[in-house]
Structures are given as C-alpha cells and as structure tokens.
Amino acid sequence: MTAADRGQAFTLEGFVAALVLLSSVVFALQMTAVTPLSPSTSSQHLEGQQAAVAAGLLDQAAANGSLRPALLYWNESTGGFHGASAKGYYTSCTAPLAFGVRLDRAFTDRGVACNVQLRYVTATGSLGVERLVYAGTPTDDAVLASATVTLYDDDVLYGVDGRPTGTTLANATTFYAPDADPGSPVYNVVQVQVIAWRM
C-alpha cells in the first residue's frame, strides 16, 4: 500500500467515525420520548396531585363535620345557597363557612379552578345535580374527587350567619334535594363532587 492509499483510508475512517458519533447522538435524542409524565400543564403528576388534594379536602371536611353544614347552608326564601349568585350557586372556587374557606385555600392560591356539585337521588330514583360552586366548564385535564354524605329528616338548615336554624329538612319547602325515602329517617344520600383543573 502506498502512502496515498493510507491517507484515503484514514479519511474514510474519519467519516465513518463521525457518522457513528452522529448516529449515536441522534439515537440518544430519539430515545427521549414524550410521555404522559413529560412536564406540561396537563402533566399526569399535576393531575394526580390535584386529585389527591381534592380527595384530602373532602375527607378532612367529612371527618371534622364541615361538609354537612355546607350542604345545608340553604336559603329557603330565595331557593339558593346563602349569599350565592342569582342562579343559586357560588361562581368562584370559594364559598362561605369552613368548607368554602378550605376550598379557597386548597385551590385558588395555586391557580386551580374548581366546581363543586351535589348529586342527589330524586323521588323517582333517578339522580339530580345541584351546583354549589360553578367556576366554568372544566378543561380536558380536570380531575374529580367525591364524598358521600347522608342527610336525615331532622337535619336542620343553616342561617346566613352559619348557625343552625329551626327548619328541618322534613319541613323545608325549597331545598334542592327531595326526601328520597319518606318512610325512613334518611332524607337523601348526596354525593359531593369536587372537579378541579388548572387555569
């Protein structure tokens, strides 16, 4: 082999080495796939976190007894929740009483919007929905957490000052949920659903 041949071989070898190197870089870059966990506002991590916050919020409210008063904070004369919009519900992710304060602290400061809806059983056995909080249409990445509350005939409505009134559910006339079982002390079983999404 002449010296010129060796030079050619070295050049070719250089090209091949460069190709191998570039291929490896391209290959490595291609391996980094976009997964559901890749950072974005619709990250599964964030959704999981919001769902856990919503579930924890409901669990805590149910355990410390602040969930039930929120369901019973009803104005008999207007047929809506006390201090709510003309449509009878609150329009931002907050509400009066302890449960509303918890909602506000859990979501609003973190840039998360929420709806809270109350699903009850109607007299015919189907399900009806009453909005407690309606902040808008949830996005595709919204999460949902729910808790069940049993209402009884002798549960009383709460006044605007947050104190129990003398009006029991059995005597209430405009309360959103009907007595689903008139022959029993159970008035209705309500499912509280918190739907949260990133604004």
Binding site: M1, D5, R6, A9, L12, E13, V16, V20, S24, F27, A28, M31, T32, A33, T35, P36, L37, Q44, H45, E47, G48, A51, A52, A55, D59, A62, R119, V121, G125, L127, S146, A147, T148, V149, T150, Y152, A180, D181, G183, S184, P185, V186, N188, V189, Q191
Partner: protein, 337 residues
C-alpha cells in the same frame, strides 16, 4: 471504511487488517450498548408512568370512603331503631329497613360511576336501655328498693353514666376505707365481669371539703384504687363509668370497665344518691325486665326499652378494577363498661 484488503501492509505488524477487525468489534459493542440503553430507558419511563398513576389508590380510596360513610349511617340507624321500636322485633325490623333504604340510595349514587354497593345485615345483638330521667329521684328501683340489680347475664354493658346531685350523696372523709363508706351508707355500684369478679364504685360527698364529690373503686382483688375527686358543677357530678371519667376528667380507677366484659350491674344504698343514669346492656329487654324497672316507663320511674346493642353488616363493593368486601361491626359509643 478502513482498509480491508488482504494486501500485506507495508507497515510492520499487519496493522490494517487488525484495524478492520477492531472497527467491526467496536460497532457491534456500540450497537449492543444502544439497544441495552434503549431498553433500560423504556423500562424507567414505563415504571415511572405506572407508579405515579393515581388509578389504583383512587379506587381503593373510594371503597374505603363508602365503608366510612356506611359506618356512620349504621350507627345512626341503630339510634333511630332504638328511638322508634317498642319491642325487640320492631327495633330489629326498623334497623333492617333503614339499612336497606340507605343501601338502595347509596347504590343509586355508586351505579353512576359504574360501581355496585350492597349492605346486608348479618347479625343483630338485642339490647336494653335502662334509664332514669328524673334528677330528683333516688337511685332505687321502681318499687323503692335501695339495693337492687339493674341487669345481670348481659353479654356486655356500654354507655353507662350517672349524673348525681352532690347534696344527695352520703358524706365521708375523702380517704375513707370501705368499712367507713358502708357505715356512712355511701351509694355503691357493683359491676361484675363474665368471670364473676366484682368491682364496687362508691360515690360520696367529701365531709372535709365543701362541694367535692369523691369516686372510690374497690377493685376485684380487694384493693382500694386511688380516689377521683370532682367539684360539683351546678350541684351535680357526672360519673362516666364506661368512659372512665368523673365530671369530664379521666379517672384511671374506673378503667376496669373498659378492660372487662361487664355482665351485671347492681346498685346499693340507692337512697343515698339522687340523679339520672343511663346504660345499654347486651341482653334482650324481656330477660332484663324483672319488675325493678318499668318497660317504656316515663321520666318519673326507672325505665327500660328495647334497643340494638350491636349489629354486624356485610358491605360489598364492586368497581371496575377493585372489589371489596368487609363486615362492619357497629357498636355505638363502642366503650364497654
């Protein structure tokens, strides 16, 4: 590619052929390395993805949530059945009806999410509620006897508390022994466990300190436990036998009640105490009623009414991926004594 001809290399040692082999080997190693790396990377992504999914824990959380809310509803159902029933049979049927109604309503809610929820009453323990509501009446039986047995042969006693008027209690020194207390005619509650061991709770007024009520327990082994004292608020003192408290403050001497299955409760020197009391015994009312109390009696007499002492209810939850079955043992205020 490097020089791969078999032409002998003018350089010493045949370097060209060796280099071709080296290139090939390196390429193979690199290729294997990349494939291995890709596998590891994919495994990491998959693991992280699966591990952080809230799916499984969320569904379990839902099943446990139903269990908690069912527990509350069942406790309330026992209270409702107790309040409404006048015979053990009506109490039982009222409980069954409320559980069935609640189960139907909750199942309607669960069905929307594709879940099935069923509650079935597995067993019920009949009980008797013994109560005296008249605060100015002595703790005697219906016919005025001061030494009498409220219940015996019970499978347990719970929610036992007395609220006594301090001025009605016999007076004795705070550190009095049993002989002195009996001589003073102090009011005494005897509680016997299933092995026949008896604890005696003396309640009396401290003769040396004004307005202080003393609770002293004579243990089953004959020793006298340290006294629990309380100042009579509004002239009365509440002795929680089941929750081991005197006027709301813990009283270790009464702790025996929670550690034993009490099967008999008796009063002695009932004339030396006026006030109210209530307890739930695990024995059907017809067996408890021996004339000492009045069945469904009014506030002026010691009264008894049939109740449910406890119940076990089977809960079955079936979700798309999680099935959960458990038996809920419901004993309201589950502190025995």
């Amino acid at each position: 590619m490097a020089h791969v001809s078999r032409t002998p290399d003018p350089a010493p040692g045949g370097r060209t052929a060796d280099r071709a082999q080296l290139m090939l080997a390196t390429a193979l190693v690199l290729a294997t390395l990349f494939v291995a790396l890709a596998l590891v990377m994919n495994a990491v992504i998959f693991t992280e993805n699966v591990a952080t999914q809230a799916d499984a824990s969320g569904r379990v959380h839902e099943a446990l949530g139903y269990r908690n809310v069912a527990n509350e509803a069942l406790t309330r159902a026992i209270a409702d059945a107790d309040a409404g029933g006048t015979t053990p049979a009506t109490v039982r049927s009222a409980f069954r009806a409320e559980v069935a109604n609640w189960s139907d309503l909750a199942a309607s809610q669960a069905a929307v999410n594709g879940h099935d929820l069923t509650l079935t009453v597995a067993s019920m323990t009949d009980g008797t509620r013994l109560v005296q509501a008249n605060a100015s009446r002595p703790l005697t039986n219906a016919s005025g006897a001061a030494d009498w047995t409220l219940v015996d042969g019970a499978a347990g006693v719970r929610s036992f508390a007395l609220t006594l008027t301090a001025s009605s209690l016999a007076a004795a020194p705070g550190d009095a022994n049993v002989t002195t207390l009996r001589a003073a005619g102090a009011f005494e509650v005897g509680l016997t466990n299933s092995s026949g061991a008896t604890w005696r709770v003396f309640v009396y007024r401290d003769s040396t300190v004004s307005n202080v009520v003393v609770v002293r327990v004579l243990n089953a082994d004959g020793s006298l436990a340290p006294a629990c004292n309380a100042t009579a608020t509004n002239g009365t003192v509440t002795v929680g036998v089941s929750n081991a408290s005197v006027e709301g403050a813990p009283c270790a001497a009464l702790g025996f009640a929670a550690r034993n299955t009490v099967q008999a409760v008796a009063f002695r020197s009932g004339y030396a105490a006026r006030g109210t009391y209530a307890l739930e015994a695990a024995r059907v009312e017809t067996a408890v009623d021996d004339g000492d109390v009045v069945h469904l009696g009014g506030p002026s007499v010691p009264a008894s009414r049939p109740t449910l002492y406890a119940a076990t209810v089977s809960l079955e939850y079936a979700g798309p991926k999680v099935g959960y079955r458990t038996t809920l043992a419901v004993v309201p205020e589950a502190v025995h004594g």
